[in-house]
C-alpha cells in the first residue's frame, strides 16, 4: 500500500508540474476539438503530431498525446448528442439516446451526465490501472482467437438488442451491415471482394463514410422534410445541468458502465469498441421500463459514456505493462515512446518510474481538466442549437465533408458518405435503424478474421469454441441473451395467433 502511495506521489509530482500541466491542457483542448469535428479523429491527430513530439521531453509528449486521446472521447460524445454524428465507433450508441434528448431540449443534461459519468469512470479506471494493471494483462493474454470470436458474436447479438423496433428489421440491418463489412480484401488469400475493380475499396469501406452518411447526412435529409415552422430542436431549452432525478436515474448505470468498460478495455484489439455497446445492452435489459429507450433515456447515455471512457483508459494497460498496443492509437503511443528511445514494456515501470506514474497521474488530471472544460461549454453548445436550422445544417454538412475527406485525402470517401446518406434516408422511411447495421459492419470483418484464424490454428476443428472454457462461457451468455430477446416476441405472436 505504501508503495502505491509513494508511486502516486511521484506521479502527481510530475503531472502537476506547470509545464506538463500545460501540455496536458493542450492535449485535452486539441482532443476535444478533434473529437467534436466529425471525421478526423484522435488517431489522425496523434499521428500528425507525432513528429512534433521528437523535440519534447518524453513525459510531455506522452501526456499530451494521451490528453488528445481521451479528449477526443469527450468531444465525440458532444457531436453524437448535438447532431447525431458519431465521432467514432464508441459514440454510435450515445447518438441513439443522446440525440433524442437534445431534440427534447435536454441537450444540457445529456452533455452533463456524459461528462460527469466519463469523469467518474476515468477516475475509477485510473485507479484500476494503478492497482491491478499487471495481473489484468495476464487475463487479457488468455483471450485467444476463439474467445475473440465468441466475444464478437456476443456483440452481434447485442446489436439486435440495440434496436427498439421490429426484431426482424434489426436482424436484417445487422446482416446488411455484415455484408457491407465483406467489401475489401480477404486477409488470408489477398483476393478482393465486392470492390468492383475500384482501388479505393481495396481496404474496405471504412468507418467514417457510413457513420457520417447513415447518422449525419440522413438526419439532415430527413429534417429537410419537416415543415418550415417546426424546429428541429425545441427552443424551449430546459435546465442546462442534469437534475437530481437525472442523477438518480443514472448513477447505477454509471457504475455498471464503468465495470463493463474497465474490463473490456483491457482486451487488446476490439475490447474498448464493444464497451459502449455492451453497456447499452445491459442498461436496456435491466431497465424497469425498456420502452423509454430510443426516446431519450438518460441511462442510455450515462452507461455507455462511462463504459467508453473506462475502456479508453484501461486500454493503456497492455501497452504500459507489456508494451503491446491494444489498438491503433496505443500503437502510435508506443511509436512515440520508441522515438524517445524508451522501449515500452515491464521495464519502464522500473527504469523510468517518473514517466510511468507521471503518465498515469496525468490521466486523472486530464479527466478533471476535461470536465472543467466541458461543463461550462454546455451553455455554449445548447446556445448553438438555437440557431435556425437552415443556417446550422449547411455548417454541419461542410464540417462532415471536410472531416470525411481528411481521413484519407480522398474525395471518393465523401461520395460514399453521400451515398450512405441517401441509403440512411431510405432506411428511415422504412423504419429501419442504422445502429445495428453499423455494429454488424464493424464486428463482421473482425468475426471473420478471428473465426478463420481459429480454424487455421485448430486445423479445421470447430469444437474448439466449445472446449475452451472462456469461449464457451461467452457463447452461453450470447445464446441466453438471444433467447431473452427472441422468446417474448415468439410468445406474443403465438398469443396473437391463438386469439384469432
Amino acid at each position: 500500500m505504501t508503495d502505491i502511495i509513494h508511486n502516486l506521489t511521484l506521479g502527481f509530482g510530475v503531472a502537476l508540474k506547470p509545464l506538463y500541466l500545460l501540455y496536458c491542457l493542450l492535449g485535452c483542448l486539441l482532443g476535444t476539438l478533434v473529437g467534436v469535428l466529425p471525421g478526423i479523429g484522435a488517431l489522425a491527430t496523434i499521428a500528425m503530431l507525432l513528429p512534433v513530439t521528437f523535440n519534447l521531453p518524453p513525459e510531455a509528449a506522452l501526456i499530451m498525446l494521451a490528453g488528445i486521446y481521451y479528449g477526443a472521447q469527450y468531444g465525440g460524445s458532444t457531436t453524437s448528442i448535438l447532431v447525431n454524428i458519431p465521432g467514432e465507433v464508441a459514440s454510435v450508441v450515445t447518438c441513439i439516446e443522446g440525440y433524442q434528448m437534445a431534440r427534447q431540449g435536454r441537450a444540457g443534461p445529456a452533455l452533463g451526465i456524459a461528462a460527469l459519468g466519463s469523469f467518474f469512470a476515468g477516475s475509477v479506471a485510473t485507479f484500476i490501472i494503478v492497482l491491478f494493471g499487471p495481473p489484468l494483462t495476464e487475463v487479457a493474454l488468455r483471450f485467444g482467437q476463439a474467445e475473440y470470436f465468441s466475444l464478437m458474436l456476443l456483440g452481434l447479438v447485442g446489436a439486435v438488442v440495440l434496436a427498439h423496433g421490429s426484431l426482424l428489421k434489426a436482424f436484417a440491418m445487422v446482416f446488411l451491415g455484415l455484408l457491407f463489412g465483406l467489401v475489401g480484401t480477404d486477409i488470408y488469400t489477398g483476393i478482393t471482394r465486392y470492390n468492383f475493380g475500384m482501388r479505393e475499396l481495396f481496404d474496405g469501406i471504412g468507418f467514417v463514410p457510413p457513420a457520417i452518411g447513415l447518422f449525419g447526412f440522413a438526419e439532415i435529409i430527413a429534417n429537410m422534410e419537416l415543415k418550415e415552422t417546426v424546429n428541429v430542436f425545441t427552443t424551449k431549452v430546459q435546465k442546462l445541468m442534469p437534475t437530481r432525478e437525472d442523477f438518480q436515474a443514472s448513477w447505477k448505470a454509471i457504475l455498471r458502465g464503468t465495470a463493463v468498460g474497465s474490463f473490456l478495455g483491457i482486451l487488446p484489439g476490439g475490447g474498448a469498441l464493444l464497451s459502449s455497446f455492451v453497456a447499452y445492452t445491459v442498461e436496456k435489459k435491466l431497465a424497469v421500463d425498456p420502452s423509454r429507450f430510443g426516446k431519450g433515456a438518460i441511462e442510455g447515455v450515462a452507461g455507455p459514456e462511462a463504459a467508453n471512457n473506462a475502456g479508453a483508459q484501461t486500454s493503456f494497460i497492455p501497452m504500459l505493462t507489456l508494451g503491446i498496443p491494444g489498438n491503433a492509437v496505443m500503437a502510435l503511443m508506443v511509436g512515440a515512446m520508441m522515438i524517445q528511445g524508451i522501449t515500452p514494456g515491464p521495464r519502464v515501470m522500473i527504469e523510468r518510474p517518473e514517466l510511468f506514474w507521471g503518465l498515469i497521474a496525468s490521466m486523472w488530471v486530464g479527466n478533471l481538466m476535461l470536465v472543467v472544460l466541458n461543463l461550462p461549454m454546455i451553455g455554449i453548445w445548447t446556445r448553438l442549437l438555437t440557431i435556425p436550422y437552415r443556417f446550422l445544417f449547411p455548417a454541419i454538412l461542410l464540417f462532415c465533408c471536410i472531416g470525411t475527406y481528411s481521413v484519407n485525402n480522398s474525395t471518393f470517401d465523401v461520395l460514399m458518405a453521400v451515398g450512405f446518406g441517401l441509403l440512411g434516408y431510405l432506411f428511415r422511411k422504412l423504419d429501419c435503424e442504422p445502429a445495428p447495421l453499423i455494429l454488424g459492419f464493424i464486428l463482421g470483418p473482425m468475426m471473420e478474421e478471428n473465426l478463420r484464424r481459429t480454424m487455421l490454428l485448430s486445423r479445421g476443428d470447430p469444437t474448439v469454441f466449445l472446449t475452451r472454457p472462456i469461449s464457451l462461457g461467452i457463447l452461453l451468455v450470447a445464446v441466453f441473451l438471444l433467447l431473452l430477446t427472441v422468446l417474448p416476441v415468439i410468445r406474443r405472436t403465438r398469443g396473437v395467433v391463438f386469439k384469432e
Binding site: A44, I187, E200, G326, G335, I339, T343, R347, N408
Partner: protein, 326 residues
Amino acid sequence: MKKCFLSIASLALYCAVVTLSASGALALNYPNKPIRIIVPFSPGGPNDIRARLVAEKLTESWKQQVIVDNRPGADGAIGMELAAKAAPDGYTIVLSPSGSLIVTPSLYTKLRYDPVRDFAPITQLTNSAIIMMVNPALPVRSVKELIALAKAKPGQLNYATPSSPFYLVGEMFKVRAGVDIAYIPYKGSAPSMTALISGEVAVMFDTPLMSLPHVKAGRARAIAICSPKRSAAMADVPTMTEGGLPGFEAGVFSVVLAPAKTPPEIVQKLNVEIVRILHMPAVQHRLTSIGDDIVGSKPAELSAHIKAELEKYAKVIKAAGIPRIE
C-alpha cells in the same frame, strides 16, 4: 530593314532560350516550386516519419517547401500508382517501403504499377534486418533445434507474421530448411506478438524494432537474424548463416523513387542531397532510434538491388507454390 532583321533575330533567340529551358536546362532551375513526397501509408508510421525527416531537411537546404502527401490504401498500391503516373518533372517523388515495391507486385498479377518500368530509383534510405523468434516455452534455442522439432512434428507448428513481406521470408525459410510450418497471418506486429507471447503460435518473424522490448523481457526468444552480420543491438543472436542456412538474407527497406521518365540530372541532384541528409548526425540519431540501418545508395545500386530482390522472391513464390492473386 535592319530593324526587321533585329526583331526576327531577337524573336528567334527568345524561342531558342524558351525551348532550351523547357528541356535539359530544367535541372539548372530545379527546384523552383514545392516538391511533394508521396507516402503510401497513413501518418505516424515509420515511413511517414522517415519522409517527414527528409522533407524537413530538404526544405531547409533547398529553401523550397517539401511536403509529405499521405495516400494510404491497398497496402501502398494507391500511393505507388499515383506516383507512377505523376508528371516526371522531379516535383513528385515517393518514399516507399520494400513491401509495396517488391512484395505486393510479386504477389499480385494485375497491379497498375510496375516496380522496374514505372520508377526511376533515387536512393535506398534504410534497411532493417528481420529476426526469427520462438515462444520461450518451446525447447528450442537455435535454428537447428527448430528445424529438428518441425521435422519431428510436420504440419503441427504455426508461425505468425505481421504482414506479407514477412510471410515471404517465412516461406523462404520453409523451402530452404525443408520443413512444414503452418502460416497464420495477423494484421500488424502487435497482434502477432501477442500470439507468440501467449503461445498461440510457435514462431514469428518481425523487425528488431518491434520485437526488441519483448525479447529483452524474456517473452520471446530470438533465435536468428537474417543479415550477413550480427546486429549490435542484438549481439547474442546468431545469423542464419551461423544457424545452418548460409546466405539466407532478408530485410525490409525503404526507398525514394521518382516517376520513370524524370530527367537523370534531377534524379542525381535528389540523390546527392538526400544522401547528404542521411549522413547528418541528427537524422542518423532519429533513424537509428526507429531501428533503421542507414544505407544511402546510388541510383544504379538501388536499381540492381530491386531487381535482385524481385528475383529472390519470385523464386520463393515458385518453390513454395504460393498462388499469385489477380
